[in-house]
Symmetry: C2
Subunit: 335 residues, 2 copies
């Protein structure tokens, strides 16, 4: 373990006080001669001075840590960070926070008291919350005592919570409109009723797809038995020519099911997903889906935190735009 170089060491070596060295480090050089500044800077460089966050944290109560809390929902079965949406979010957040000079600490939990401890122990500057929704609202309000941003979740706009989301409704609408325009009249809707934002996506789809002639089938799904419910509803599914799954993972699973049944995609049934996961490019056929720009959202998250730090209190509630990414899993239907 190499010995840490401290400010006092440098000060001593230069015959200066720690205050002077500290001031040079922070650019408060108004009252220091140019020559002294240069000497200090040279030694900082030579000795490769790295500040100890322990001291800074204690002295200024400023940790430069942003905690990212991921809702460790049971549906992930203990593998939250493997979820394609979660991992792409973390990736974007990591780079964006680093760019802004912050450190990222991750916690995966459902237990709010843990989150509270976590934030408090480290004097976090802020937090980013992933995957929580309205039903967690009371806990959030009551227990979070530091600036935070909901990165993904479904919150009513009027709750005063800074909430970055994507325009789920519009995404669904675009899919609906696209499938209708491609000549489809009967579609399967695949979702998980437990997930709050699925409802938005489906509502959007209905608006985009519905007119006098179209019709859709909502296959009721339960978590354990998604495949089972496909099997039970196979005849009704065969009557459809298209499907909208509210997430790519469901879409891939559904395509898999169809292929097992010998139903060709998109020959007999066209499928559209949501999220633009990595898997879209690797499955066959390549999946048409709704894409969100993770980088843009992460930038918004950091921007929103900055505003909170600056004392701006009225929350940003943004529904970031979303767009349909057309690949190979939808075919025009001709009658």
């Amino acid at each position: 373990m190499a010995e840490r170089v401290r400010i006092v060491d440098l000060a001593e070596e230069l015959g200066l006080s720690t205050a002077t060295v500290s001031n040079v480090i922070h650019g408060k050089t108004k009252k220091i001669s140019d020559e002294t500044v240069k000497r200090v800077q040279a030694l900082l460089e030579e000795r490769q001075y790295v500040p100890s966050m322990a001291g800074i944290l204690l002295a200024r109560n400023d940790s430069r840590i942003v905690g990212v809390v991921v809702n460790n929902h049971e549906k992930y079965e203990g593998r939250v960070l493997e979820d394609a949406f979660v991992s792409s979010s973390l990736n974007a957040l990591l780079f964006e926070l680093e760019r802004a000079g912050y450190f990222m600490m991750i916690k995966a939990t459902q237990d709010w008291s843990e989150v509270e401890r976590f934030a408090s122990m480290w004097n976090m500057d802020g937090m980013v919350l992933l995957g929580f929704c309205d039903s967690d609202y009371e806990k959030l309000r009551a227990r979070m005592h530091i600036p935070f941003v909901v990165y993904d979740g479904f919150f009513q706009a009027d709750k005063g919570i800074c909430n970055l989301t994507i325009d789920n409704f519009d995404g669904g609408r675009q899919v609906g409109a696209y499938l209708k325009e491609m000549g489809h009249r009967r579609a399967v809707l695949i979702s998980d009723n437990d997930i709050c934002m699925d409802a938005e996506r489906m509502a959007g789809f209905r608006e985009g797809f519905s007119d006098g002639e179209t019709d859709f089938l909502e296959v009721p799904m339960n978590r354990e038995g998604r495949r089972c419910s496909y099997r039970e509803n196979i005849e009704r599914i065969r009557a459809c020519t298209a499907a909208f799954a509210v997430s790519d993972v469901y879409a891939a699973e559904f395509i898999h099911f169809l292929q097992e049944q010998g139903i060709s995609v998109p020959g007999e049934i066209s499928v559209v997903g949501f999220d633009d996961n990595a898997l879209c490019e690797n499955c066959f056929p390549r999946l048409t889906t709704v894409g969100q720009d993770a980088g843009e959202r992460a930038r918004m998250a950091v921007h929103a935190l900055r505003r909170l730090w600056d004392g701006e209190t009225d929350p940003i509630v943004e529904a970031l735009p979303v767009k349909l990414i057309i690949r190979d899993s939808v075919k025009r239907k001709r009658y």
Copy 2:
């Protein structure tokens, strides 16, 4: 921002000194009356005392942070954390570190001086390195001044570096033996020559697959043009009945290519991957692959760190066992 409850606050309220409160917190109760212990504990509970890591860090130089550094290799194109192997590793590490009472800080970089700063600023207790290999060895040795474990990478056993890996050779061997036993005689090998451990997997494959009658084709791949080189070699590929891709992602990509060409999998060509990524279950056909237990590896990593902290210096160099997971992408070949 809720006011922090400090030890002095509790001490004052109890009419005790901070030393006593601190001692109770740490279970050093030999010289404290039972009654006092109870009073202190009751107040700790009531006031929900959460220690400040800033103070602890400064006083004991003990951060309980483990830094996880991911090699931000260009091949990831800025999306490291989205890589299936990386994300499953992070997931396993996160839970394992939490269980052991440590906090995880992530950094994605290729720049060693940054890693050094990172570790030094936070007085990290240890680090876990992902995705580095022998060529980084000198930097590692010269610059890392804290205990660290190579979680995944390819290092010579004799370098004295604590290196957890999987038995890449044996994985390849199992695949080779399996394909041979399934009657295949000509196979395509798909790999990326830049990745150090691919060589092991391929060497294992050769050993498992080769006998007088078998033969294989190594399609030379360059990163930008994997698909291109498939296209160029299409005739030679058609002459094969099986393929081994050294990672699931390559396998999925290859299957995709074959399906585009109208070649059925596994009807005409059987495909085996490596890693047991999430995508294996979702692609069609479900991918036969070589699986590694991420949880077990993470446990080993924490165990290895513990040993280093305990002063045990001879490094653990483990090649964790690996097993073939048979799904639907391989078909028996009959002549």
